[in-house]
């Protein structure tokens, strides 16, 4: 059992600080000769690069700092995550891009696919073909793609990746996801033990934690501590309970979460890629590790899948489990698949679950903070 000596806010900050800290860690890894693999979406099985001892870093960018540079090459009316990521790569302002020996993308949404083609002109890029259908054929195709990716790593880094090493990494990731899911399920308690902002900063920060073997113990210790505090009567008080879903919403897009919580509600669940959406379990009993990985990753309910029943199923379940009073769907500007899907999600939330639903379209700028505040405050007054 890991002992945590600090008070809670400090611990949350410690997790959130992992991102900043990881810049230094990555430099150290680089100096020691550890291969560094930069990845984008949650569809990429990080188990494979981890199995050869590589450090894996997330490249999805969440600030508007480099968007003007990106817009020299990319259209203005494009998703801010894609523009920002491309901009950080182009300007080398992000150490993760700078130190990555290989940048790995997947054919997820149209904007990203095309951006990878342009990125490949000045960075070492490898793209996995991600099928858009969660059928047996799709899973078989992705299984082959995962193997092809493993072979690419073996060839580039002159190493061998054994199934045994992959199996071990599957276990490590499963344990990590179990701990992070348990942590997020603290919020099923009513009143909620902490604010949603604390939850999202911790889960987002943990994605940058390089010490993944020990991460579960640290997360579990924090969860235990919150549980103990809760039992002793510590909570955020009775508030309307909101579930956030939609496009990736880390960094600058957290202004929406802030607007919700500043208006007196609490975000109890995040059904998006920094939250529960991708924290699934891989079948450790499956003798074929590649099949196990393909099945687990292909089941992620992102709107780039067609159809996308797993997102609806997860929302349906989370709304009950977290006793949700209202759903806010965050759509990043020009994120067509999530935007179109709002009609389908709205139907589920309003008609089947019988609770209010709001869509906010936003980007990484702070220009709409006032309008967001009005909109979210009105939504919460309505509950």
């Amino acid at each position: 059992m890991v002992e945590l000596k600090k008070e809670l806010p400090a611990i949350f900050e410690e997790f959130a600080d992992k991102r900043r800290e990881s810049f230094l860690t990555i430099k150290k890894f680089k100096d020691e000769g550890t291969p560094i693999v930069g990845v984008f979406c949650t569809y990429l099985p990080r188990e494979i690069p981890n199995a050869m001892g590589a450090a894996v870093v997330g490249l999805c960018s969440v600030s508007d700092e480099t968007i003007p540079d990106a817009e020299k090459d990319l259209p203005r009316n494009l998703c801010p995550l894609i523009k920002s990521s491309y901009g950080f790569a182009k300007t080398d302002k992000c150490p993760f891009f700078y130190f990555s020996d290989l940048i790995v993308g997947e054919t997820t949404c149209d904007g990203k696919k095309k951006m990878y083609e342009m990125l490949a002109e000045f960075k070492p890029v490898y793209v996995l073909e991600l099928p858009n259908r969660q059928s047996e054929e799709g899973i078989a195709l992705y299984r082959r793609e995962i193997i092809r990716f493993k072979e690419k790593l073996e060839q580039q880094f002159e190493t061998t990746i054994t199934e045994e090493a992959i199996r071990h990494q599957i276990h490590v990731r499963n344990e990590m996801n179990k701990a992070l899911v348990r942590f997020q399920y603290l919020m099923t308690k009513d009143p909620a033990p902490v604010m949603g902002m604390d939850i999202v900063n911790t889960t987002y920060g943990s994605g940058f934690d390089m010490d993944i073997e020990n991460l579960p113990a640290r997360v579990n210790a924090m969860t235990d501590m919150i549980e103990a505090d809760y039992a002793a009567g510590k909570n955020v008080g009775k508030r309307p309970r909101i579930l956030v879903t939609g496009s990736p919403s880390g960094g600058a897009a957290l202004k929406v979460v802030r607007a919700i919580e500043d208006s007196g509600a609490v975000v109890v669940a995040f059904e998006n890629c920094s939250g529960l959406k991708a924290m699934l379990q891989t079948d450790e009993e499956n003798p074929d590790v590649y099949d196990a990985l393909a099945r687990r990753y292909m089941s992620i309910g992102c709107s780039c899948m067609s159809p996308n029943p797993n997102r609806l199923a997860m929302l349906d379940r989370l709304i009950d489990e977290f006793k949700v009073d209202g759903v806010v769907d965050i759509v990043l500007q020009a994120c067509h698949t999530y935007n179109v899907e709002t009609a389908i999600v709205g139907k589920l939330v309003k008609e089947k679950k019988g609770i209010p639903y709001a869509v906010v379209e936003t980007d990484y700028s702070q220009a709409d903070v006032g309008q967001l505040k009005t909109r979210m405050a009105a939504f919460i007054e309505m509950l």
Partner: protein, 253 residues
């Protein structure tokens, strides 16, 4: 006992005094560059000894320290509509900076809403700009477009629409036809926006400054596919009245 509602909008600040049964008085002033000061002035002018509760709403709602409660304009517009137009289920408000559609339940409470705050083409600002371009102003719009036949404005953006209008003026299009074309453009857009939420045969209360124009009311009803939209002589004060009504309910608790 009286309650005061103050609605600090992007163009105008409105205040309404309510005695629990009727609106006692209303005032309005341009919000200008110092909306907080305008709110304060209206507050000072309207406050009486028996004011029990003050509610602030609108974009400047955080700027009045004397307010007992801050409520968003969505909730206030809903409450105002339920008071001015009992039985309505849909509120359409075209404001200076945004437009909104609010659905009400049987109890007159907000049950869903949509805001268009990203684009000026569906707001009062667009019409204001057009009227300035053709050398008139919004207050005279009904007489200005009398007997005109609307031209089609195709642009989806207020800025490009202005270029289109300049082009049409250069082709000697009658200004009345242009202004009516602009009204139809706004009403068509607003109707499509409203139909995302509204029931099939909505009982619409139309609020905001533009609701004072008979031409606009008729065009909006046409695009919504209904006989008429309801409005009220005090509809421009809808947000402030709603704030005062909500304040009264809170004061009575």
């Amino acid at each position: 006992m009286m309650t005061l509602g103050i609605d600090s909008g992007s163009a105008m600040t409105k205040a309404a005094l309510f005695d629990g049964e009727k609106v006692v008085s209303c005032r309005m002033e341009p919000s200008g560059t110092n909306p907080g000061q305008v709110m304060r002035r209206l507050y000072e002018e309207m406050k009486t000894a028996d004011i029990a509760y003050v509610v602030a709403t609108g974009y400047g709602r955080e700027l009045l320290p004397e307010a007992d409660k801050v409520i968003t304009e969505i909730t206030c517009h809903g409450a105002g509509a339920a008071f001015l137009c009992p039985g309505c289920d849909t509120v359409i408000d075209i404001g200076g900076q945004d437009s909104k559609v609010i659905l009400l339940n049987e109890a007159g409470q907000v049950r869903d809403f949509l805001m268009n705050d990203k684009c000026a083409a569906g707001t009062g600002r667009f019409l204001e700009m057009t009227m300035a371009r053709v050398g008139s102003d919004i207050a005279r719009i009904d007489e200005f477009v009398a007997g005109a036949s609307p031209v089609t404005i195709n642009s989806m953006c207020a800025v490009f629409a202005e270029s289109e209008i300049i082009g049409l003026l250069a082709q000697e299009t009658p200004p009345g036809d242009l202004a009516l074309g602009c009204i139809h453009s706004i009403c068509r857009r607003t109707a499509v926006f409203a139909q995302k939420l509204a029931p099939a045969k909505p009982k619409v209360f139309f609020s905001g400054g533009l609701a004072q124009s008979q031409t606009i009311c008729t065009a909006l009803a046409h695009y919504l596919g209904i006989e008429r939209v309801q409005t009220h002589p005090l509809c421009q004060y809808n947000g402030a009245i709603g704030a005062a009504v909500l304040g009264y309910r809170r004061a009575k608790r």
